[in-house]
Amino acid sequence: MEQHDSKTEGVWGPRPQRGAGAEPLPAGGEPELAEIIATGAPIEIRAGGTKRPWGRPATGTILDISALRGILDYDPAELVLTARAATPLAEIESALAQAQQTLAFEPPDWRALLGTEGEPTLGGTIAVNASGPRRIRAGAARDHLLGFRAIDGTGQIWKAGGRVVKNVTGYDMSKLMAGAFGTLSLLTELSVRVLPRPETETTLLFEGETAAGATAAMTAALNTPHEISAAAWLPADIAARTKLAAATSLRLLRLEGPAQSVAYRAGALGGTQLDAATSQAIWRDIASVAPLLPPAGRCIWRLCTAPALAPALRDRVQATFEGAETFLDWGGGLLWASLPKQDAATALHALLHAFGGHATLIAASQQYRAGAVFQPRSAAQAALEARIKRGFDPGLVLNRFRMSEAW
């Protein structure tokens, strides 16, 4: 994949350092981090830093937590892994691979998309609730967080959840922390659910369908009991840029499982089969939004609505934004849209409000990220979220403004 040079084009790389708070704070363990947070000065949490340009720019001195590293407990038979927050995903995936297991939500690698380098970490991945193509079958990142230790905005160390897969003791704080972008507490240690890695996989290709035809076909396939683990559609111009260098649009359905089972289901569904290695490579590209890269000079949005509405949503996006490039993942439930650089937030948020769903700006220069990155809330929900934020972080110390203009 083409590497985007973050150094020559400042807007995609790490933000220019600001004023007095420019120096990263010293690294340290949980007590030391708690002490720093307790001083009440705003901090921006950073581990690998690979997702830092996603979300609104946070205010505060960078707090480097990369010392929080290492797998603490992993017994494959328990299907649970506990690791410190800044443990690189690569280290975790490698430990899991030795036991033929994996993180089933298929964490996507968005480094090229976000123009960052470095190592994605477990904590960062969970904190932004980033899930890949298997999300439609295995659930989102948030569905895999079982428990955690964390430091709140006043410097108190706390924990919730557990290290077992089935637990309803107390509120499900894990769901609240997953996707909170570090605004409620600094996650220091996470226990996640892991699952067996599928024995084998194949992808079925279907060529030349329209968005409407492909969405109907993806729905029909997902409504069979054949356990499709990923379903995407790429229009011809996007499909041409993939490893498959296709000349027409492509609908892709992935099947995973024991070889006998995959062969049987593939036979039932038809299409052209890809071998396992090609299948892996193509879904890695779809997860990392590779067909829309490089993002230079463009804004990349993630649009989620009810899957069956995907063709209508895509038509509206293409008609509204000249030069829009789009493709579908999650059986139609996810429309990736790359737009020529512009402030599209108001229009897209209104559109997704009308469709039912949400639009999130994923990659853009800082100028556009300062606005509404996330789908606006109703007044009642916004007030509730603000109360939650102030409950955990009354001084707005943690990742201030990363998710909301108000906090």
């Binding site: 328990e78 499900d172 997953a178 356990e227 006998q260």
Partner: protein, 496 residues
């Protein structure tokens, strides 16, 4: 017995006024005032605890729910939400100074959307009714708590209910994609929908499993799944719990996630066999039922692999279901394990801890020692795949002191679960039952954080008080949300 918060005398004194306010919103039979009428709601599935609610109100529209909550908020009256009342942890236990808000009249399925694989239902629809509504189209709703014929989807959201298929298909939280809820202040909030994820803070995730303390759910959107075309079950006998446990670990280690994997110990097996005559091996110390579902070739392949793993781990008997009828027969005993135990003991107390599976043999041995210590017998059924234990403590409520001993035995079991790295409850909820054990798992700081969530949703602490937390929420004392000029806003809140 656990202590419930003292009823507020001031509220009790205003009962007539409160009933009149409710009646103005829900006229006629929808507001229940008479003692006999209220008596029907005095307990849920945790029958050892009973209380007569201040009044019962059974609204039929969302607008009425909004008005009821607004009125209660205005009058400072506590509210206990209730679905079908099947909670085993006392989640719907009434309070003498609280309005019981019954959602049983919300029984409509609002939308069956096969294109988006979801169903939108009112909260009083039963769990099984959702599957019934879509099964002729080849779909089902995956979470299947054993009370599914009676329990409601709204209650499932409150309790984050599980079932025997959780390991593969997840709990309620993994299968609910949207809700509409009303806050204690009467604000209607929609979270999630037919789309994936919601962006922003995951309030939907926080609501599921919040045991009626954060808001009242008025609509639920659930994911439905195509029914697997084939399912087969293996009935395996073992001479020791250890062999059975090692088999479970080996099955998972081989990369197999069964649709269900259940274990029963010897007393539970015997009770079940005497009840349903499923052909369970009575000479076994532990029986495993392993169900595999999927396409035919996959199920046949995995059934062979599980059988060979079981044999390697010294299974003393192995039967693979050869027909749907036989598969259901294997399950019949397990599904009837609770009533079966009810036949051999006047009363039983069902516990619900989860442990790391590797500690199972040790936990069961310690529980056997406790049987002697407490002078009570215990039968065990176990969701072996996910480590969720259901010890059934056998007692006779008519024998003075036995209930107290059963509760003490149960508490000791749960403390043991936490000690070995597990948790207090896998699927039944904390409710009243495990409330005072929360401190064995969480520090005061940990519980304070949970209370902060509660305080954001329900600042006056009116929703379902006395549940989950060992003391009433101290929103003011937590000192972050509602302290004005250093004054404690709720000095009347008691500690218990």
């Amino acid at each position: 017995m656990l202590k419930m918060p003292e009823p507020l005398a001031e509220t009790l004194a205003r009962r007539a006024e409160i009933v009149a306010a409710l009646r103005a919103i829900v006229p006629g039979e929808g507001t229940i005032d008479s003692e006999t009428g209220r008596r029907a709601y005095e307990c849920d599935g945790l029958t050892a605890y009973r209380a007569l609610p201040l009044a019962v109100v059974l609204p039929e529209t969302r607008a009425q729910i909004v008005d009821i909550l607004r009125a209660c908020h205005r009058m400072g009256v506590r509210v206990v939400p209730r679905g079908a009342g099947t909670s085993l942890s006392g989640g719907a236990l009434p309070l003498e100074d609280a309005v019981l808000l019954g959602l049983g009249k919300f029984q409509r399925i609002l939308d069956i959307d096969l294109e988006n694989r979801c169903v939108v239902a009112e909260p009083g629809v039963t769990n099984l009714a959702i599957t019934h509504a879509v099964q002729d189209r080849g779909f089902y709703y995956a979470p299947d708590p054993s009370s599914q014929i009676a329990c409601t989807i709204g209650g499932n959201v409150a309790e984050n209910s599980g079932g025997v298929h959780c390991l593969k298909y997840g709990l309620t939280t993994n299968n609910v994609i949207g809700i509409e809820m009303v806050t204690i202040e009467g604000e209607v909030i929609r979270l999630g929908g037919k789309h994936y994820d919601a962006g922003g803070l995951d309030l939907l995730g926080a609501m599921v499993g919040s045991e009626g303390l954060l808001g009242v759910v008025t609509e639920v959107t659930v994911r439905i799944l195509p029914k697997p075309p084939c399912a087969r079950a293996l009935l395996l006998g073992f001479a020791s719990v250890r062999d059975a446990s090692e088999t479970v670990a080996a099955v998972i280690g081989a990369g197999i996630i069964p649709g269900g994997m259940e274990m029963m110990d010897r007393p539970a097996t015997k009770a079940a066999e005497d009840f349903v005559h499923a052909g369970y091996p009575l000479d076994a110390d532990a029986v495993l039922i392993v169900e595999l579902d999927g396409c035919g070739p996959e199920v046949d392949h995995l059934a062979d692999r599980v059988q060979s793993i079981a044999e390697t781990h010294h299974a003393t008997s192995c039967r693979v279901s050869q027909s749907e009828q036989e598969r259901l027969l294997f399950w019949a005993g397990r599904k009837a394990a609770f009533p079966a135990v009810g036949r051999i003991s006047p009363d039983y107390y069902c516990m619900d801890g989860t442990i790391p599976r590797r500690r199972l043999a040790e936990v069961l041995e310690r529980m056997q020692q406790m049987e002697a210590e407490y002078g009570l017998r215990c039968a065990n059924v176990f969701h072996a795949g996910d480590g969720n234990l259901h010890p059934l403590v056998l007692y006779d409520a008519n024998v003075p002191g036995e209930l107290d001993r059963a509760e003490e035995f149960g508490a000791a079991i749960l403390r043991l679960c936490v000690e070995v790295g597990g948790v207090l409850t896998g699927e039944h909820g904390v409710g009243v039952e495990k409330r005072d054990l929360m401190g064995t798992m969480f520090s005061k700081t940990d519980l304070d954080q949970q209370m902060r969530l509660k305080c954001a949703f329900d600042p006056p602490g009116l929703l379902n008080p006395g549940k989950v937390f060992p003391e009433l929420c101290r929103c003011a004392e937590l000192g972050r949300v509602h302290v004005h000029g250093g004054k404690t806003r709720f000095p009347e809140l008691e500690r218990f």
